[in-house]
């Protein structure tokens, strides 16, 4: 049995169903991310794990113990909130030691643990500061230390980086991941930021309208989206309307071009229309070598984005964007140029 077992939970608020039949098994020490747009149900599931909401149906088991109806204060979970939620009347040390004080730990035990946590988040010098005397990033690190001080079974992170600056976000997410690995703590992270989810997680659960769209490792989710929603939500994708020519050889007609995919077309029939999806970075300039699709396109726009250059082209009526790494020695095409593009067969995805 997995360390955290969520079985067929549902959550209804009057007429509205926020979560439909959600199940997931999470192993000890795993870092799981719930990813999806606002209102997809990710926070509701997290709140059910914390005990703030009770599932309408289903069960939640932590380490072999059914906690579905156990009150929050008896679940032994740690939680970090988007708004930090540090107690304004308490110093950093008092905030970190609050849970231990509630658990009636001895003063010396609290002191030792607080120092340990402060050293872990590298804020030893700020023990006597009040929350309002610190930056957002520092406050969130204190919130993380406070959540970990009681040695919780599960760590819940509710969009903890959303209120921070871009640079601090990146450094703090790396810090969170390092700490999570060092402590081997089972972690559930909620975010709507795909980059965050892809960079930090062992597995990602993509949610939409209270339902799971896809669960998998970040590379799996990104490279092989199983649904149209996942494909459009994660990263940038070129969508091409096509018609199946031959399911056996994987040939699909797009305008005047015929593309070949090595992905199975089991659910489709010859002559049926379908949507093809190709990542911009999967397209290269020139035909390339090996078994590849070769396309003739006309350049519409060249956008310099720093480390990459995005080139927008068109193939008849279809728009196709590609990303190339910025190389000062490489000559970029100009608007109106006719270019030859290549794309590996396995990178042509067919969406359901």
């Amino acid at each position: 049995m997995a360390f955290l077992e969520i079985s067929h939970i549902q959550k209804r608020f009057a007429e509205h169903t926020a979560v439909h039949d959600f199940s997931l098994s999470i192993d000890k020490g795993e870092f799981i991310t719930f990813l999806g747009p606002s209102g997809c149900g990710k926070t509701t599931i997290l709140r059910m794990l914390a005990g703030f909401e009770a599932p309408s149906v289903g069960s939640i088991v932590f380490d072999g113990k059914d906690v579905t109806h156990v009150p929050t204060n008896q679940r032994n979970v740690g939680m970090v909130f988007q708004s930090y939620a540090l107690f304004p009347n308490m110093t950093v040390a008092q905030n970190i030691g609050f849970g231990l004080k509630v658990a009636k730990a001895s003063a010396s035990e609290i002191d030792t643990r607080v120092k340990e946590m402060l050293s872990l988040i590298k804020l030893d010098a700020l023990a006597d500061r009040y929350p309002w005397q610190m930056s957002g990033g520092q406050q969130q690190r204190v919130a993380l230390a406070r959540a970990l001080a009681n040695r919780p079974k599960v760590l819940l992170l509710d969009e903890p980086l959303s209120a921070l600056d871009a640079k601090i976000r990146i450094s703090l997410r790396e810090e969170i991941r390092e700490l999570q690995r060092a402590l081997n703590i089972t972690t559930v992270f909620v975010t709507h930021d795909q980059e965050e989810a892809l960079s930090i997680s062992d597995r990602i659960v993509v949610l939409n309208e209270g339902r799971v769209e896809q669960t998998g490792a970040p590379s799996e989710i990104y490279n092989f989206p199983r649904t149209r929603f996942v494909a459009s939500f994660i990263g940038t994708l070129n969508h091409l309307q096509g018609q199946v020519v031959d399911t056996a050889t994987g040939q699909i007609r797009v305008g005047e071009h015929t593309l070949v995919t090595s992905n199975p077309l089991d659910d489709l029939k010859n002559g049926q229309t379908c949507t093809l999806a190709i990542r911009p970075e999967a397209i290269t300039m020139g035909p390339g070598s090996g078994q590849r699709n070769t396309l003739q396109a006309v350049v519409d726009e060249v956008s310099f984005l720093g480390s990459i250059v995005r080139i927008r082209t068109h193939l008849g009526a279809e728009v196709l964007s590609m990303d190339v790494f910025n190389d000062p020695n490489q000559k970029l095409p100009a608007r109106g140029d006719s270019v030859t593009l290549g794309c590996a067969l396995e990178n042509v995805l067919v969406l359901a």
């Binding site: 204060n73 304004p88 509630v102 009040y130």
Partner: protein, 266 residues
């Protein structure tokens, strides 16, 4: 041109303020001046001396202070958990609760006290007017009702400055129970608001007349009325003392209004 207009408007503001100050301060200065004239031909604090030496003043003032403190304690214990619960679990009920707490401003005190006398007279099911202690308790309850608009508004304003729900959840997830959350997380973060409500309550209770007079309790309000009806200079001295008590309460609200530690989290 714009500088000229700005100067004009500033002058207008000063004039308005001067008129306002004169309107408020002139009667007060006149009262104070009159209170110093007890001895013929010279200014003295004789009226104040007489008042302070009057055993009835000490008794009634002391009684009202005790009643005010009891009212504050009961009011805080009633209002803080109620307002907290409304913020946390029933935010939609906030307008209704606000309306209920404002009722004592609309319903005259005499109506409330007649209601009490009808409900709790010595021949009723709960004969609270049957003994002095029970009547004191009834008076405290009536003062709590009377001060409800001030206490609730202060506490509600304090709760609006903190993220009640998230702080509660953060404490809950750390293992805290509701009582611990209220005492260690919510109370300390709205101390200044509670103190504001407390001082306003104190100011209201200390000079209250209707409730105390109709419940026949020896409070400062009825004493003020009694002295006012029978003496010349002492009522003025008492009015000045009452003003000082009220202003001291207001001053303390300002002192405690700036909480040195707590800042809102959002």
């Amino acid at each position: 041109m714009s500088t000229h207009t700005a100067k004009e408007s500033r002058l207008g503001a000063w004039i308005a303020m001067a008129i306002g100050c004169t309107y408020f301060l002139l009667p007060l200065i006149a009262t104070f001046e009159f209170s110093l004239r007890m001895k013929r031909g010279e200014y003295s604090f004789e009226a104040y001396k007489v008042v302070f030496e009057d055993p009835q003043f000490q008794a009634t003032f002391g009684y009202s202070i005790v009643m005010a403190i009891a009212t504050i304690v009961v009011g805080v214990l009633l209002v803080v958990p109620t307002a907290y619960w409304v913020h946390l679990r029933m935010p939609k009920l906030r307008p209704l609760v606000e309306f209920i707490t404002l009722l004592p401003l609309v319903i005259p005190a005499i109506v409330i006290v007649f209601g009490y006398l009808r409900m709790y007279n010595s021949s009723s099911f709960i004969p609270l007017t049957g003994s002095e202690r029970a009547t004191d308790f009834l008076l405290v309850c009536s003062y709590v009702t009377l001060s409800l608009p001030y206490m609730y508004r202060s506490v509600d304003t304090g709760l609006r400055t903190i993220d009640v729900r998230t702080l509660t959840e953060a404490a809950e997830v750390l293992g805290a129970k509701r009582a611990t959350i209220l005492l260690q997380v919510i109370f300390p973060n709205i101390t200044s608001a509670i103190l504001s409500g407390a001082f306003l309550t104190f100011a209201v209770v200390i000079g209250e007349f209707t409730m105390a007079a109709l419940l026949d309790r020896p409070a400062f309000g009825p004493y003020l009325q009694l002295i006012g009806a029978n003496r010349a200079y002492e009522p003025s001295a008492l009015a000045v003392i009452a003003f000082i008590v009220t202003w001291a309460s207001m001053g303390l609200i300002n002192v405690f209004g700036s909480n040195k530690h707590a800042r809102p989290t959002r």
